[in-house]
């Protein structure tokens, strides 16, 4: 005989009375787990879509405007390439795919196009000093989820979609769709840029942006050919939207006070609004479970204490102190919470996996981290709702045991 024997036996003796409270907490937790699970995958899917749209943070020279950048596709002003190093070696979270650019006007076959120098990813990785502290020590593709069944994008689209290319040789050139079409250039053709021959490694797909009328080459080669030092005139960054909402832009501003940091707010706002809506929905359901589940449990516990007052009085007459009585009811509440939490997690996960693709249109997988969360909420609600009834039981007048005389 232990405390748990008393609690366990009583639960099974009067299990029918417990069903309503158990169902209240089970359903409440399963709904929250389900919403959180679907929301999480939905957010990741939204993030992936937004990520595919391109950079959402721009670092420009202090005097430049976003309008200038997109209308003229270049600025006269430049800033040191060293800013890239500063960003990459910083401890800022949420920076993904840094893309420094230097754009210069060039003529190809009497046609004026923009030559943009870009830094391939392998250049970042080659810089030992950046490793271990910088961007590549962090997980890549923040906010991006590998959706099961979806193929990786084709290699030549990488630049368009992610603003980053893995490798680019000194004589390699990537040609935008419009330039390729108007010049009749194909992969492996040779073109002259600032007096130097380049091999066209790919003609990029149509994007509908200024990228279509650009030619891309290695940043350091463009710097050299244009007679510029180690400078760039823009850094495009794909920032994690949730980090942007947590003040990433301000942190970059502090890190690079001489530059201008611009967020493409519409893109970020969309995701922030979606995230906010989902998180409000979770809070709403949490409120419902706390109120409905808590009220149901409290109601049940008060009724249980009333029904068992003679039993409590008897235990006290046998020498049980108020702490023993308190523990009997709180242990019962704990067991109720644990059962509701585990059951709610399992049911909620099944609901999310089954209904997620239909509701949110995204594949949903079980999320183990929600298990401790579900257990924590369920037991906290159960214990809090039971505390007052348990305290009432512990303060019960033991005379009630003998009241029939």
């Amino acid at each position: 005989m232990r405390l748990r024997t008393i609690v366990w036996r009583e639960i099974f003796e009067r299990k029918n009375q417990l069903v309503t409270s158990f169902l209240a907490i089970l359903l409440g937790i399963s709904v929250i787990v389900s919403v959180k699970n679907i929301t999480s995958y939905s957010e990741k899917a939204v993030a992936r879509e937004l990520d595919a749209l391109g950079a959402n943070i721009l670092i420009l020279p202090k005097s430049a405007s976003l309008q200038d950048y997109y209308s003229s596709d270049m600025q006269d002003e430049e800033f040191p390439e060293e800013y890239v190093t500063r960003l990459a070696t910083s401890d800022l979270q949420g920076l993904d795919n840094l893309s420094p650019k230097l754009s210069v006007p060039v003529d190809i076959q009497s046609r004026r196009v923009t030559l943009t120098g870009i830094l391939p990813k392998n250049e970042f990785q080659a810089k030992a000093s950046w490793q271990g502290a910088g961007i590549f020590s962090r997980p890549q593709g923040c906010g991006v989820v590998d959706v099961p069944g979806e193929a990786a994008p084709p290699a030549q689209e990488t630049l368009v979609r992610r603003r980053v290319i893995d490798a680019l040789g000194d004589t390699d050139a990537l040609v935008g769709a419009d330039v390729g079409a108007s010049l009749g250039v194909k992969p492996n053709d040779t073109i002259q840029l600032l007096g130097k021959p380049f091999t066209v490694t790919a003609v990029l797909p149509q994007t509908g942006t200024v990228d279509d009328s650009r030619v891309f080459a290695h940043l350091h080669v463009v710097q050299k050919l244009a007679g510029k030092g180690p400078v760039v005139n823009a850094i495009e960054i794909v920032g994690c939207c949730n980090q942007i909402s947590k003040g990433l832009v301000q942190k970059i501003n502090q890190l690079l006070p001489e530059a201008k940091v611009v967020t493409i707010t519409q893109i970020v706002d969309t995701q922030i609004k979606t995230n906010r809506m989902m998180s409000r929905l979770s809070v709403l359901f949490l409120g419902i479970i706390v109120l409905v589940g808590g009220a149901s449990i409290a109601n049940y516990m008060y009724a249980n204490v009333f029904e068992r007052r003679r039993e409590i009085g008897t235990l006290m007459a046998l020498g049980a102190g108020s702490s023993v009585v308190l523990r009997i009811f709180l242990l019962k509440a704990l067991l109720l919470g644990l059962a509701g939490g585990i059951g709610g997690y399992v049911l909620g996960t099944v609901l999310a996996v089954v209904l997620g693709p239909r509701i949110a249109g995204v594949p949903v997988l079980p999320m183990l981290p929600l298990m401790p969360w579900a257990l924590g909420v369920a037991t906290a609600v159960s214990l809090l709702a039971s505390y007052l009834p348990a305290r009432r039981a512990a303060r019960l007048d033991p005379c009630t045991a003998l009241q029939e005389v």
Partner: protein, 243 residues
């Protein structure tokens, strides 16, 4: 020794004060067997509850072996009850969802006895009251007489010096009542103090002493001088196992 010194108890009931006990002074020596009789509402159960440390007096002192019971806080009174006092109730007050064995184990669990000893002592106590073959039965599966025996075994689990019985034969047939009263006599012979509230004249006659309460005051005191006070046994079965 149980003592009451000028103990009064008043409580409000429907807007007026009711006197349950009125300046009662009383001594019950160790090893005594006292029956408390009187009409309903005369204060019998109040007296029993006060000796059990479960109802504080409005005035006066209640003492057990010289210790003022209500000078202790509720937790210490519960501890004292666990150590020295055994209750027997008219309706047995067994825990309905526990087996006979588990019901007897409850006070042993409360006293911190380990599982193995709990089971051994509970089985031994149920054997003493003749219920060896009913260990796993729940109260609803036992006759009322058997239920009262389980309650007696439970009361004995912590080897109490003082037994407070509240109408222990009130719900029993004459034969079972006789058995239970025989058992009380046996327990009294072991040296335990027994205080029994009863309406049953025959049950009261089995006690050494009869206290008659009317309107909260002792009006009559009868002693059976033919029976001498027993010495408390220290080598009895319960004592050896529960201590």
């Amino acid at each position: 020794m149980l003592q009451m010194r000028s103990v009064s108890k008043q409580y409000p009931h429907r807007g007026r004060m009711v006197t349950a006990l009125d300046a009662v002074t009383l001594e019950i020596p160790k090893g005594d067997y006292v029956a408390v009789v009187g009409p309903s509402g005369s204060g019998k159960s109040t007296l029993l509850l006060m000796f059990g440390g479960m109802m504080s007096p409005s005035a006066g002192q209640v003492l057990i072996e010289g210790q003022s019971l209500y000078a202790l806080d509720a937790e210490r009174r519960a501890a004292l009850r666990k150590k020295k006092i055994g209750f027997v109730f008219q309706t047995f007050n067994l825990v309905p969802y526990l087996s006979a064995m588990e019901n007897v184990q409850v006070p042993l669990f409360l006293a911190g006895v380990d599982d193995a000893n709990q089971e051994r002592q509970a089985a031994s106590l149920l054997d003493r009251v003749g219920l060896t073959d009913r260990l796993d039965h729940k109260p609803s599966e036992l006759s009322v007489g058997q239920q009262q025996r389980v309650a007696l075994a439970r009361m004995l689990a912590n080897n109490p010096d003082v037994i407070l019985a509240d109408e222990p034969t009130g719900n029993l047939d004459p034969d079972t009542s006789r058995d239970i009263l025989d058992f009380f006599e046996e327990l009294n012979r072991e040296g335990r103090t027994v205080v029994m509230v009863t309406h049953d004249v025959r049950a009261a006659q089995r006690a050494r002493r009869v206290l008659r309460l009317v309107d909260g005051a002792i009006v009559n005191h009868e002693r059976d001088e033919t029976r001498s006070m027993p010495e408390r046994r220290t080598d009895d079965m319960c004592g050896a196992e529960a201590r």
